[in-house]
Symmetry: D2
Subunit: 506 residues, 4 copies
């Protein structure tokens, strides 16, 4: 099933009112949440669009039916390339974060991990999860991932916290399910998701066993409060509001106050040894998603910078062109890292094809290290006008309209109306509440650069480099370079098959 | 005379209502302007404070009386060092831009340039200006500098513009004065300044002679419209609002619609050859001011980062300390550049002591190149919380208060109330409308890095380095290094004298 | 045919003595050229090694026989991935530049361009070239590419130069061929190549038609002088010299003094419109090669830094690990760019599969921008010892041996002999004549970062980003994002076929 | 007394042969040491030059006589400014490191520390040191500082080392003196210094008391071996060798093999609590010296880059000018840091005026962080020619002379001879053994950036910034900003007096 956005809304607006914004409990149809919902709408619209079949949609490995790409388990490198492309496509349309990758990355992490734990421990989580996923795909639900816990004192482990609710944990095991409580924070998309996938945020020790818990739960389940901070552009609802201003985002603190989860939706319960694996699977899948969305944000910044340069009539100047090319560097290197992660990814025992961690991490890290610099370039080229331009109302008021309208023209080929739209856009992109969100999410979302550094340092084969150096230095007589042979791209007949199917759908 | 802030307000609020904000004409007592006025207040308060006599005040070279430091013409390097220190002091108190340096830098540029043009051309601008300045100092007025013109098409000179009002210019010379029109933009502080000093923004050619105009004018003169965009923090007026939230800033587009200026306040009229000199004098003085204020902003960022680190209980971690030390580098290198500019400055023919341009420019450029990176550090250390934390109201609402209050505690030594204040401050410093202003003003205010690069490339003695290289390479037999001898610090008996006077005042 | 290195040497040493080093004409068996020849040897050895069949070798699209990978025309993305891997493999073995990619990139550029010009102009260059290539592959020759001309005054075009020989050009056309003269410079590998491929270095205008010349010529042809500057490590020939010290490189100025080229080896003669295309084809192919070799250099630097850290007993320190991870970022982002260039490359009309230019350029640019920084990291971690350590002889001399031997031990697990080898290696990698070469070639080889910026700025679809921004800003009602659909990876059945063949060979 | 360089040589060449180079014991007149001695010569020449009296010389605070500036104890900020200037002057002449600041910084550290320990402990080290210094000044000796110990295992303290000689220490106390042994390393200038000042390299604990030892000793004392690694340019001794090629440097491992030091030259012996203070005094004085010499190196690089740009006829191009301005930024910010360190330095109890540590450290750190980047700029502008140009001999050899001579001309205003000198200079500056030394010493000499970060983090008043943030955040009601008042420049009558004397000498 491929829901329309209207069907998505209908279900959403009929949910229990457990969203809190600014001190009040509100419905999911609260106007402050709408800009975020508009973003999700794009993921439904694209799947309805015949032009994007096979990209915004995929053939489910579970049901054999056509489903939304974001609800799909990638089966081969081509699927990962398509995912990257679908994210870049959608992220361009909304001018930034598409939010729905959260659910995608969660189902992939759960599909892989449940298979692995079953194989090792003889549990039956995988069948349970796939059974759940079948319904999720059939109903075309939208889930988000609740990973980051409140954490409390960062020098202490979950079980050592003074406030035990700093991490979500099991408080009671019943015959038919478990009762969980605790707080998750900084959860994007939660206020308008159908479902939450809850997973651990870190490696755990034996004494943290109660914190080894993973499950799926409807977003309006009894006992759940979603305290939401939406971010959007407070522009007046003009008849022709700029598309960029119609999109927003939101993050939530989610309070689980003794919530009951039936066993069929529990995918980890006490297996602390797998906390790190599940946490990393989500993180690494999410970092691969970043290799698709962050290039789109660079596309937006590049376009905004180019518009500003044009409005200032300096778009042909060499050092402006040189600055523009920095966006190309960041966008395409990150995108390339995603491509390499796909090409050199691997088939997991679950059948899910997973991106190569090294490439996913170098790509994500680059974007996190570059984000402030990318906004700096926009500012350098645009000048100070985005924070000193009179308010829009002054451009309309009788006493100031005429002078201001003439004043704003800087390039003979760009009239006042267009110039105003450009500068308003530059302000919205580069000097607005959305800017603050994009700068900070650009550093921390999906793990900040220091997290990728840690991931790289634990995964990269430094020892091979050391052995190479020992050989070249004349310390060791030999250097075994056979590992390089094993770096084989994963293109197989299956892939070609898959593409044929996809192409037929187009 | 040293006015109190109340006296400053009284005069301000009695001015003609020619301020426009958001489509409406408002009085200078409009609440949206108040945060900016609060900043100016600090400059009046400091001068009233006996502890800061000799720093926030100075003995006027014109009247011999004690005046506000910001209305003073520096006479020696010590005066410049005191100016730097006074700016850093005040800028710390308001958490950023002190705004009043605009007037300071304008009167210095005018004092120097008028003397020079008189010497060269036999005009009498200097006496005229000093006469005006005498009254300005006696009344303890606050002026801002109107330099940046609307500019229009940047590929054309003033006289080539389709819209002649893109630059302020003379439209009529009368017996008793001149009539001017045109538009200035991005003028900080204009909405609550007593006086405007209007000067050219660039080098001029003979055909631009009408644009070679400099003058002083009351801010509410007939024909002037000030279209203002204030920036402030929209926090509720709680009983104990954080000091940082009480301060703001504003920039204005200023429309001169056939404004009459009597000759006694005209300081340039047609002498296009001096446009560049006057423009640069203001710019370079202003860049020296930045060497005082930007270190204060780094102080604020450093403190905010440290508070965030403490709230996260990571303030002892080595890589956090390493990041903190980046603020020290930027702040103290820029401050040192200001010190060197003072020590190796020079006495101009007007008696005004002027900072060394090379040092003022390398200092200002460093801050402009570093500003985004400095905010990046705050974000790296603070985490994503400043854009994902629930709104303050949720921390007070009955249904969410209890959980959120426990949730916010991360360090056992920092309670919920303090933690909330810290995270709110981190948000206000790093993810608010003030942030956008500080980021963008940090790049462009006083001239963006590319302007300092151009200034350096026109002033620096590259030829000396080339001759050095030719000598070392064996191309030239000799290298004349005597120029280094002429780099003598300007400490003299006068300086010592001055300090004695200042110290007596302390 | 796959020559052994001995066969390569035999042919080489029997060539005419037209190499000049340090003021003397020498044979190709001169000891100063040997370190460079040792590098080429590795490319022959690898092809002989059964473990590397299908990687160091390929099935020729021309002859259908197994040939050296470096003499192959890639037919699909897998071929490009294999090329990258083969280069990284070989470059690790020699600790840096493998040199032989020069010929590889030249034959690819010529194969593509000749087909295109034939299609457009009705010439028959392609058949001529393929015919030549057939012999080249059959004999397993090693060619280098002579692209960079002496250039003379860089503000003038070839035909405007005072010295017409600043660029290689045709001086006479004969019935059976052409006579060329002029000077090429900075030509790597020339002193021990069998063959030179000569191509233009830049776009040309009609008046430069004589400079539109491309051909192949034996390296010892009459009229050719090769003035060579070898770079190598002047270590004594100890019995167990470190492998790194046995490898070197060389660059040459090549003087063409009226050299006759028969038509069958002439591939461009006067078609000035194609100068830019041919120049860029080589450059872009070469930049893709860099995406394979520069990661290997990062591997070597990473290993050297790790050895130094270990010798200093600081290899577990967090900020050392963080620095190490910088090598991962540069190496794997560049490698990923090469992968994406392969995956999103395109089949040319010649049948040659060519890497995507955007990805090849962002990858190469990253390495050029990072190279000095990468060496900086080695220095930071290793300390000053690589330029202050006593000479090796002092460690052996009776009067100083004992103290120095004890002195050099810093880590109880690394004895004096090993420590000495490590520090000598660190010096050879980071503070030797080879270092200077790698730093400078790292910036300029294959085109410096500014050249990639120019290439990106001419190829990147900035206009698409501008249209995206215009849409988001509300200026245009629509945004056509269909271009993204066309970004399809080039995996096809042919690829799978090819891999099967390759795998069978393994 | 102001020795001539001839007198310096005479004493040097009559010393005991205890220098070891490349496995042999050599005299101080060994030709490989000469380039380093040529550097020291400049410090003697300058002091003889009447033009530089008062700069290269000073009036001794000990003897009242005119002495070499490098042997002087600064008494006021002007002395520190003069020191900076003298170093920049001399460093320009030799194209880099002047080496003699080592002794200067050592005597200052010893003068200050001995006074402080005497005041605290009732010892009489200060009188002892001043008595020694009197003779040192009267004889115009040249000393170097031996600080860096061999260190052995860096995770262990001196007293924990397996090899006790890893740090210099006392092995026996006698009635008339002490016997010391151990190894110092990376000691610049040692091979041609008259005297060694030996001081601790780090903070010490009680069990390290034997390692708390400081003394002065003649460089050829019995028991001392100096194992030296000279660095120089191996250019042929042509009649007109380029000045840059005549200068070099050297570092030594110094073996103290039971060396007897009479009490009158012992300045610390067992007072482990003062180890850190003495070590830091030298380090910080030395970092201030860097604020003079590193700008000179930037001057040389700037000049070399400009020459290369000119030879390439691109010296007017904007992005070349922009790159040049980077040298200005680094050079003048570091120099400014030195100026601020002087202006805000302080008078110690010994009477020595000491630079402000914060400014000295931010200045030195900047240079250490920038050095690789500065060389990168030279490479970017110069191109690859410095490692690919044929050897000088080829430009003279009959068979290649004519073509190469024409080939090298790229700018019609620069003939072949001049062009060759330029490119040779660019190579010597940017791609020679001296380059490696300058790159690595630029990072580590005087303490690497991480050492300055540690120094800043221990000295900077972070707490003040935190209190500022707490006030602005509304946590604390007050902020005590009085500390800023105490930041007073140290200009006094004494300074003016001093300047009069100095000026009279001019």
């Amino acid at each position: 099933m491929l829901r329309t956005k209207e069907e998505y809304h209908e279900r959403l607006f009929s949910m229990r009112n457990n969203i809190y914004v600014g001190g009040q409990r509100v419905g999911r149809d609260d106007s402050r949440l709408r800009p975020g919902i508009n973003v999700l709408d794009v993921t439904f619209d694209l799947a309805q669009d015949p032009r994007w079949k096979g990209l915004a949609t995929a053939i489910s490995s579970v049901t054999g039916e056509e489903i939304n790409r974001w609800n799909h388990l990638p089966q081969n490198p081509y699927d990962l390339l398509q995912k990257q492309k679908a994210i870049r496509l959608a992220a361009r349309r909304v001018g930034g974060c598409i939010q729905r990758c959260m659910g995608h990355d969660a189902i992939n992490a759960l599909a892989i991990y449940t298979k692995e734990i079953d194989e090792a421990e003889g549990t039956d989580y995988h069948a349970r999860f796939i059974s759940y996923l079948r319904g999720y795909q059939l109903e075309d639900l939208d889930g988000t991932c609740c990973q980051t816990d409140a954490k409390g004192d960062r020098l202490k482990r979950p079980s050592q916290q003074e406030n035990p609710d700093s991490y979500v944990h099991v408080v009671e095991k019943k015959k038919d399910g478990v009762v969980v409580r605790g707080i998750k924070m900084s959860i994007t998309q939660a206020a308008y998701a159908d479902v939450f996938f809850v997973i651990p945020t870190r490696a755990l020790k034996e004494e943290d066993a109660d914190y080894a818990i993973a499950f799926a739960v409807p977003a309006d389940e009894d006992g759940i409060k979603v305290v939401t901070r939406p971010v959007w552009l407070r522009d007046k609802d003009e008849p022709h509001v700029a598309p960029f201003c119609t999109y927003g985002v939101s993050d939530s603190v989610i309070i689980f106050d003794d919530v009951f989860i039936p066993w069929e939706r529990v995918f980890m319960c006490g297996e602390w040894q797998y906390g790190r694996r599940l946490a990393l699977l989500f993180a690494n899948s999410h970092r691969h998603s970043y290799c698709g969305c962050k290039p789109a944000l660079s596309d937006v910044l590049c376009g905004a910078t180019l518009l500003a340069a044009e409005a200032n009539n300096v778009d042909k100047v060499f050092h402006v062109r040189e600055k523009l090319s920095k966006y190309v560097g960041t966008a395409e290197l990150a995108y390339a890292a995603g491509v390499a992660a796909a090409v050199y990814g691997k088939k997991t025992s679950s059948g899910v094809f997973f991106p190569n961690e090294i490439y996913a991490n170098v790509g994500r890290r680059l974007t996190g290290e570059s984000i402030y610099h990318e906004y700096n370039i926009l500012t350098e080229v645009a000048g100070g006008i985005s924070v000193t331009l009179p308010f829009a109302e002054d451009f309309g008021a009788p006493e100031t309209r005429e002078e201001l309208t003439r004043f704003i023209v800087r390039n003979p080929y760009i009239n006042a109306e267009e110039a105003l739209k450009i500068w308003k856009f530059v302000e919205n992109v580069g000097a607005s509440p959305m800017t603050a969100w994009y700068l900070i999410a650009g550093v921390h979302g999906g793990g900040s650069p220091v997290m990728e550094t840690i991931a790289l340092n634990s995964e990269y084969d430094y020892d091979e480099r050391k052995r190479l150096a020992r050989y070249l230095a004349g310390i060791d007589a030999e250097f075994d370079d056979s590992k390089l042979r094993t770096l084989e791209p994963s293109f197989g007949d299956g892939l070609v098959e898959e593409r044929k199917i996809n192409n037929k759908n187009n």
